[in-house]
């Protein structure tokens, strides 16, 4: 139906005739037609609704809107020939539609204030994080005194899910890393004829840095995100509240097993990554530098101190604590909506990886100073 047919105005009789479908589909065209209308300045106006075919609440709201606008201009508006149903709808809308719609707009903070607000929020979050760690420590100490209530099965489940199930991906990843490092080194070492030194370089870098770091980053993505999402959804479902009211604190059954589980699993995964990282390097050494398996392992034993392995492994529990505490904390901070689960999961992974690298840098400096 074209625009002209929906509404027409006769200036002589001051009569507005409405026709056809006054519904949502024609809302825009009716709206435009009415806006272009030359309304009288005074007197009486009759709105004739006899030939309205279909009237829905969108159309009725338009009608009411214009009726009110004209009334405010001092024109007497009258509805005529509306069918009973249509009149009922118009009256209903008229009752509901407020005279003036004023929605409070969201206030935008000036830049400086926004920075200040964000800073305070960050500060609050850090404070809350330390409170969370404190609470967990208290709970852990309490649990240590009453070992009967330790949830061995949850602990085992955590180790299985986040340790055992990650074996394949960690093995593959560290094998690749080993291959890549050895490949890059081999190209350089071959120039100097220092082929055999690849064992020193590779052994030290994999055991001390790469294996712990790669494993921790992988686990932060894999386990950290799952911790946050799981706890967050449980929080939304009020499962956490339910546990609390049953006299089981969430830290007993949910958080501490997760932290302890990862504390055990991550060092084990790191050893696993050590093995495959070195193995990957060994393959490349064999291929590119013609160092036999025997030579490689023989020199490995001579030049790589056990200290390197222990330093690497020693970092893993620290990384585990970083990952699990941040991800559980972010999970418990989820509020209300699905969006918040997504936001906190991202945050937990990013923060965990960030602090893993920061702490790793600290370790490097400290070990250097200690001449380890």
């Amino acid at each position: 139906m074209s625009k002209e047919n929906l509404v027409s105005y006769d200036a002589n009789t001051q009569q507005l005739s409405c026709q056809g479908d006054w519904d949502l589909q024609h809302f825009s065209s009716i709206h435009h037609a009415l806006e272009k209308m030359h309304w009288p300045n005074e007197g009486k106006l009759i709105i004739d609704g006899q030939s309205i075919n279909k009237l829905d609440s969108a159309g009725a709201s338009l009608l009411v809107h214009w009726k009110n606008t004209l009334k405010n201009k001092g024109i007497n508006v009258e509805l005529a020939h509306f069918s009973k149903d249509h009149e009922a709808l118009v009256n209903f809308i008229e009752k509901e539609l407020p005279k003036k719609i004023q929605l409070p707009k969201e206030k935008k903070l000036p830049r400086l204030a926004a920075i200040g607000k964000a800073t305070i929020q960050q500060y609050q979050e850090i404070k809350e994080y330390f409170a969370f760690i404190g609470l967990l420590t208290m709970d852990a100490l309490r649990l240590m005194r009453q070992t009967k209530t330790v949830r061995w099965s949850s602990l085992a489940a955590v180790i299985y899910r986040n340790g055992y199930n990650a074996l394949i991906i960690i093995a593959l990843l560290s094998l690749m890393v080993g291959i890549v490092i050895a490949y890059q080194m081999a190209v350089q070492l071959r120039n100097y004829g220092a082929n055999i030194y690849i064992v020193d370089f590779l052994g030290l870098s994999v055991l001390r840095e790469f294996a712990p770091l790669i494993t921790a980053i992988m686990v932060a993505g894999r386990t950290g995100s799952s911790y946050t999402a799981q706890l967050g959804l449980m929080k939304i479902n009020q499962e956490i509240d339910a546990l609390d009211t049953m006299g089981v604190t969430p830290s007993d059954i949910l958080i501490l097993p997760r932290i302890a589980g990862l504390f055990i699993a991550l060092p084990l995964l790191t050893i696993w990554a050590d093995i495959f990282g070195v193995f990957g390097g060994m393959i490349m050494a064999n291929n590119m530098l013609s160092i036999t398996w025997y030579d490689f392992l023989h020199r490995f034993e001579q030049v790589i101190p056990t200290r390197a392995l222990i330093i690497g492994l020693g970092k893993a529990p620290v990384f585990a604590l970083i990952i699990s505490s941040i991800s559980c904390f972010q999970g418990m901070r989820v509020e209300g909506s699905a969006e918040s689960v997504g936001k906190n999961t991202t945050k937990s992974v990013v923060l965990a990886i960030f602090f893993i690298i920061v702490v790793d840098a600290f370790f490097s400096v400290i070990f250097n100073k200690l001449k380890l």
Partner: protein, 260 residues
């Protein structure tokens, strides 16, 4: 199919999990009526709703909505039908990341070409029509009470001025006063907007109050469809058991009193 039938379900069979949920279910829903669907827990009410909405493909049988086969409808056909109905889900299914106004305006935004001002006005009108205060419009669903969320869900369901709305347990979890208000609201909307309403409910009070006809689901079929006073006289033991408990009686008595 007569012109005043809006949904026609023929010989519907659904296999879910390890069981036949529907074993040849037939149901006709007439234009302009409020049809209640009741039945014990696990009788397949929600599954039926999901099948009617095209969210679940039945194993066999046909479902026609507005005279169109919904089971095998093409994307365009389905879209056309979807514009003509509104749904209030059991858990409201409001988008948690949008404010109430954005939630209600969402279908308008997707299906019309209105400018922002008109969009907001129409959405706000629907919010007000469902009895919510205007200042609730900028809140997020999580900040609203259960009753207000239900109203918001209803506002979103009616925002496109549908001809048909589905309500899944609209009064569940509401306090009696709010539930009463909600029933009034549904009746009011039905009379002013000429809606057809399919309502799944356990709330016997609201059944007595608003349903024109009630379909009783049991044993995988519709055991009976009739106006409630007739339905409760049905000798089928399942129906008798459902309506003749103390709660059923109480609801009936209240209704009798109100009629007088």
């Amino acid at each position: 199919m007569t012109t005043d039938t809006i949904i026609e379900i023929k010989n519907l069979k659904t296999y879910l999990g390890d069981a036949w949920i529907h074993k040849g279910l037939n149901l006709n829903i007439k234009k302009g009526e409020i049809l209640g669907i009741v039945g014990g827990s696990g009788s397949g009410k929600t599954t039926l709703l999901r099948a009617m909405l095209g969210l679940l493909k039945p194993s066999s049988g046909s479902i026609e909505v507005f005279g169109q086969d919904i089971v095998n409808a093409s994307y365009e056909k389905l879209l056309e039908i979807q514009r003509r109905w509104g749904v209030l889900f059991q858990g409201n299914a409001l988008f948690s990341s949008l404010t109430l106004l954005e939630n209600v305006a969402f279908p308008l935004c997707e299906h019309t070409t209105l400018d922002t001002q008109n969009l907001e006005e129409l959405a706000l009108l629907k919010i007000l029509m469902t009895g919510l205060p205007a200042d609730a419009a900028l809140k997020y669903p999580a900040e609203l009470s259960g009753g207000m969320q239900k109203r918001a869900g209803l506002a979103r369901a009616i925002v496109l001025d549908p001809e048909l709305i589905f309500l899944d347990e609209p009064t569940a979890g509401l306090d009696p006063n709010t539930a009463d208000g909600f029933d009034e609201l549904i009746l009011n909307l039905q009379s002013t907007m000429g809606l057809t309403i399919v309502i799944i409910t356990h709330d016997l009070d609201s059944l007595w109050k608003i349903a024109d006809r009630v379909a009783f689901l049991g044993e995988g079929i519709v055991l009976s469809v009739a106006a409630l006073p007739e339905l409760i006289k049905n000798p089928n033991p399942m129906i008798q058991h459902f309506f003749n408990g103390p709660r059923g009686r109480a609801a009936e008595e209240i209704h009798e009193k109100e009629k007088k």
